[in-house]
């Protein structure tokens, strides 16, 4: 039925195109009407005409510049108002023309029609671009078939031609000629796009008792082509899922790395760790505000500036906490737990007072928006790629600090044997403060990363405290390497479970798994070897 309507529309429009000057106002009026089918028909009429007038009207339509003023259809071009039918300026300009707006399906039709018209352009780059855009988004292909035929005949370029062949194949899947359809399916079988697969699957559908595709040979060929495409999609699908796991893992790692120092190495149960993340995230927000008001040209780089600011802000808060509260409670884990929990409430309330109880908006800079398209069904979002790289960078920094610097050596010495370290002249009290500050600063860095993907609000830290402890405990207390493996492992496992059982169940399963694991192996994945003085 639909196919019939389209061919009817096409036939009508082809007749009409001969007497274009007469048909134009009718089509224009139909464009402005409320009737969806009439509007679709009007677009088909304009596409079939394909002349400069039609192109002008379609472009205006796609730019939302076409409007109705009284009885007339006009194009609004800045200050000027042009008559859509003739392109002449109307003087005086009519008051408040009402814009003709398109919905998704009409806009897609108009855009693909415009792209198809550009296939006939003299500029090679323009032809290539429009062919590629049509490949991902063709809309109702049958309308474009005559244009594609024409373009294919003219095209000489080696890169554009294969795309056109594929486009033509996509458009002619609905053709009434079975041989043409068979050829089309064969042409499509070497694609790797889910959109093409969906088209081919459409042929295999049943409508009532009959198949959409009446010819058995075409159906068999389509079945074969779907299998071929599937085998190409399976790898990109798997790597996509692996990436989401690594990305979640890198976020868990950033959240937990600070805790791996304060809890893992120093043994302080810091319930305010999540709030240190929050301090980092709010630093990013504050930097964004500063850049917006003082350096609007460089606003895209506020994230870079936020990194050191967040580190020092969180480190200062952490050091203040250590000096005032935690220092007096070393060796008393229960009191530490309660005191830091109280501190976390204080910090949440402070953020509420300073920034308000509502979430604040932290925008992704332009270079972190969008994604890297690796395959038709695999695009990796830039913000997540950047965060994965950033967590690697922070990890490297922490490793260097702990293993290659004098400070790192002191920290290790103090945590391994405090009295002996003190005897050989290590200022243990200062080292405690500094180590706690560094752990807190790293949590601040995690906060900057979180601000790019999650909501920033006063109680955002609460959601990460459990995850962070999970990572540190699972990895083995006192081990950086353990935290890395635990974070990545939890990330990947969570994502595969989510794909299989949904987000709610996945969360429960992971918690159950950790409880069971800790029962069996309380020391975590990596146990410290050697002698310790507790």
């Amino acid at each position: 039925m639909r196919r019939f309507l389209i061919s009817l529309g096409l036939a009508l429009s082809l007749c009409a195109s001969g007497a274009w000057a007469d048909a134009d106002p009718v089509a224009l009026k139909a464009l402005a009407s409320d009737d969806f089918d009439a509007r679709l028909g009007a677009i088909a009429t304009l596409v079939a005409a394909g002349d400069a007038d039609a192109r002008r009207i379609l472009t205006a339509l796609s730019d939302d510049a076409l409007a109705v003023a009284g009885e007339r259809v006009v194009i609004v071009a800045g200050e000027q108002v042009l008559d859509a039918a003739t392109g002449a300026a109307i003087k005086p300009a009519p008051a408040s023309p009402e814009s003709i707006s398109l919905n998704n399906s009409l806009r897609q039709q108009v855009n693909s029609a415009l792209a198809a018209l550009r296939l006939l352009s003299d500029d090679r780059a323009e032809r290539l671009a429009s062919a590629k855009s049509l490949l991902s988004d063709m809309g109702e292909g049958a309308t474009l078939l005559p244009l594609l035929d024409k373009a294919l005949k003219q095209e000489q370029d080696g890169e554009i031609k294969p795309i056109l062949v594929q486009l033509r194949a996509q458009a002619s899947l609905a053709s009434p000629d079975a041989a043409l359809r068979l050829q089309a399916v064969k042409d499509l079988s070497n694609s790797a796009s889910p959109a093409v697969k969906a088209l081919l699957l459409g042929l295999l559908e049943k409508q009532g008792d009959t198949f959409v595709e009446p010819d058995e040979k075409v159906r068999a060929e389509a079945q074969f082509a779907v299998k071929a495409i599937d085998s190409r999609l399976v790898w990109s699908d798997l790597s996509g899922r692996l990436f989401t796991g690594v990305s979640l893992g890198s976020i868990l790692l950033l959240a937990a790395l600070g805790l791996a120092i304060t809890y893992g190495v120093m043994g302080v149960i810091n319930m305010a760790h999540g709030e240190l993340l929050m301090v980092g995230a709010y630093s990013a927000y504050a930097m964004q505000g500063l850049f917006r008001s003082h350096l609007p040209d460089y606003v895209d780089y506020y994230v870079v500036a936020a990194v050191p600011v967040a580190f020092f802000a969180a480190a200062l808060v952490g050091m203040a906490m250590e000096r005032t509260v935690i220092r007096h409670l070393y060796g008393r884990p229960l009191e530490t737990l309660l005191a830091t929990w109280g501190l976390s409430l204080v910090l949440i309330q402070a953020a509420r007072l300073l920034f308000g109880a509502q979430n604040v908006e932290v925008a992704n800079p332009a270079w972190m928006s969008g994604g890297l398209q690796l395959a038709d069904n695999l695009s990796l979002p830039w913000n997540r790629l950047v965060i994965v790289a950033f967590s690697g960078f922070v990890l490297l920094l922490v490793w260097l600090m702990m293993n290659k610097t004098r400070l790192g050596m002191f920290v290790r010495a103090v945590t391994q044997n405090r009295p002996m370290a003190g005897c050989v002249g290590v200022p243990t009290a200062r080292i405690d403060t500094l180590a706690f500050g560094i752990g807190s600063g790293i949590a601040g860095l995690g906060g900057v990363a979180l601000s790019q993907i999650a909501n920033v609000g006063p109680d955002m830290g609460q959601g990460y405290i459990v995850d962070s402890f999970m990572v540190v405990v699972l990895g083995g207390v006192g081990q950086l390497a353990g935290a890395v493996w635990a974070a990545l492992g939890l990330g990947v496992v969570t994502k595969f479970l989510e794909g299989w059982a949904g987000a709610v169940i996945a969360k429960i399963l992971v918690l159950v798994f950790i409880i069971v694991f800790i029962q069996k192996r309380p020391q975590g994945l990596f146990a410290l070897k050697g002698r310790f003085v507790e």
Binding site: R2, F36, D37, S101, N103, N104, S105, R107, Q108, D137, P194, A195, K197, A198, L200, L201, G202, L204, E205, L233, D237, G240, R241, T244, S247, L248, I251, R352, G356, A357, Q358, N359, E361, A363, N364, S369, G370, G371, Q373, N377, S379, P381, W382, N383, R384, I453, A454, N455, G457, P458, D459, G463, K495, E498, G499, G502, A503, V504, K507
Partner: protein, 419 residues
């Protein structure tokens, strides 16, 4: 501590309102009608509910400026249940038994409404609920000024299935894990089944409140959409999870022309926190859009903008109006009309006077409170997101339609349509 703080807050707020309204403190200490406002001002729902509190305060000020109700000024009592469902019941009890409010305007999530219901029934209070919801409920003490499923969800899905909406054949029902999305999806599943959509062509996905990692779900939608036939996503995600969801949607390159997402809990206010450019063309169904053109709406928008400036709201120059705000506005006015008609604030007398009340709403239609089912007759609009975060209406009903709180698509609901 908590009550003291909220008390202080309420006191400060009321004082500021008194100052704004230019009332002398003696004038309103004399005789006022107390009105409760029960919306989360912190936590995951604050993104949506804070604006409703502001709208309520604005409307109360508007009514007071015209002389109040029954010759008395209205006195707002604002409490913050902090997106914590049991606390909603606690605060509701406080409003009713301690503050003795005549009426409460409040709640957003259905779970919060379910949590306060027993309190309103027990103490015979009056609650105006301004948000679209899942239906399957009809309480004497509640007036529902938001949409029932047949005034939002069902028309939206019908639109998606029409040729105009892209002839969708497969559906992803995506929601936050609580009563509203679960019930709505149950109704939609039954509705889709009645339209001949097979079970294999529907998947349901739920996430916890405040969920922020939507990678897996977006990947799943992409895969599902790649398995043939046009796919659409119906989102009942609530609260601030919408921001990461739409961010991820934009970053993953899932365009509206391939897989349209129609949302029932995302309006102009929620889109303020997102860069709307990658979302152009995704849909929402509501009973009001800020872009609707009519004199009532212009007045409403101007009033709220002025209010935002006066109340010094954050980013007051970019405030927007949305559907639940309109429903709050309509609800307060209708309540005031009913009190005038009943010549009393007594719950039972006001309930009787509410039936058949009409109000010329900013949506451009005169809305009527149904005589029997406590729901408004509302028009339905379907809009596509524009680059500026506003909506372009692509479909609307000819006029207001009557609510069916008990969905006919759920067996056993026949004959339940009245109170």
């Amino acid at each position: 501590m908590q009550t003291r703080r909220t008390f202080l807050k309420a006191a400060v707020l009321s004082a500021s309102i008194a100052a704004i309204g230019g009332l002398s403190s003696s004038a309103w200490a004399a005789d006022t009608i107390k009105v409760g406002i029960l919306h989360s001002l912190s936590g995951t729902m604050a993104i949506s509910e804070t604006a409703l509190k502001e709208t309520a305060l604005m409307t109360i000020e508007e009514i007071n400026a015209k002389g109040g109700v029954l010759g008395k000024k209205l006195e707002p009592v604002v409490v913050d249940p902090a997106s914590d469902w049991p606390k909603f019941a606690e605060k509701a009890r406080q409003l009713l038994s301690q503050d003795k409010v005549a009426v409460t305007f409040g709640c957003w999530t259905s779970v919060s409404r379910k949590s306060v219901l027993p309190v309103y029934k027990e103490l015979n209070g009056l609650l105006f609920y301004p948000v679209q919801y899942e239906g399957e409920e009809l309480e004497k003490n509640v007036f529902y000024t938001g949409a029932a499923p047949n005034q939002q969800a069902i028309p939206a899905v019908e639109y998606l299935m029409s040729k105009e909406g892209g002839s969708a054949k497969r559906f992803v029902l995506l929601g936050t894990d609580y009563v509203y999305p679960r019930t709505t999806n149950k109704i939609l599943r039954a509705f889709l089944k009645s339209k001949g959509v097979a079970d294999a062509d529907i998947i349901e996905e739920y996430t916890p409140f405040g969920h922020s990692d939507y990678q897996t779900i977006i990947a799943k939608i992409k895969k599902f959409a790649g398995e043939g036939k046009k796919t659409a996503v119906i989102s009942t995600i609530n609260g601030d999870s919408n921001v990461p969801f739409y961010k991820e949607l934009g970053n993953a390159g899932l365009k509206a022309k391939d897989v349209p997402v129609v949302a029932f809990s995302v309006g102009e206010e929620e889109l303020r926190g997102v860069d709307a450019k990658p979302l152009v063309g995704h849909l929402a169904a509501w009973n009001y859009f800020m872009t609707v053109k009519n004199p009532e709406n212009e007045k409403f928008i101007k009033m709220y903008r002025d209010w935002a400036k006066k109340a010094k709201l954050p980013k007051a120059d970019t405030v927007v109006t949305n559907d639940p705000m309109e429903a709050t506005y309509v609800g307060i006015h209708m309540w005031a009309q009913a009190v005038e008609k009943a010549k009393s604030t007594d719950t039972d007398k006001v309930i009787a006077a509410m039936s058949g009340q009409t109000f010329k709403a900013p949506s451009g239609f005169t809305l009527k409170m149904d005589e029997t089912n406590h729901h408004l007759h509302k028009p339905v609009f379907i809009g596509e997101i524009k680059a500026d975060g506003q909506f372009n209406t692509v479909w609307k009903t000819k006029g207001p339609i009557r609510a069916q709180p008990w969905s006919p698509f759920i067996p056993g609901n026949e004959g339940k349509q009245k109170l």
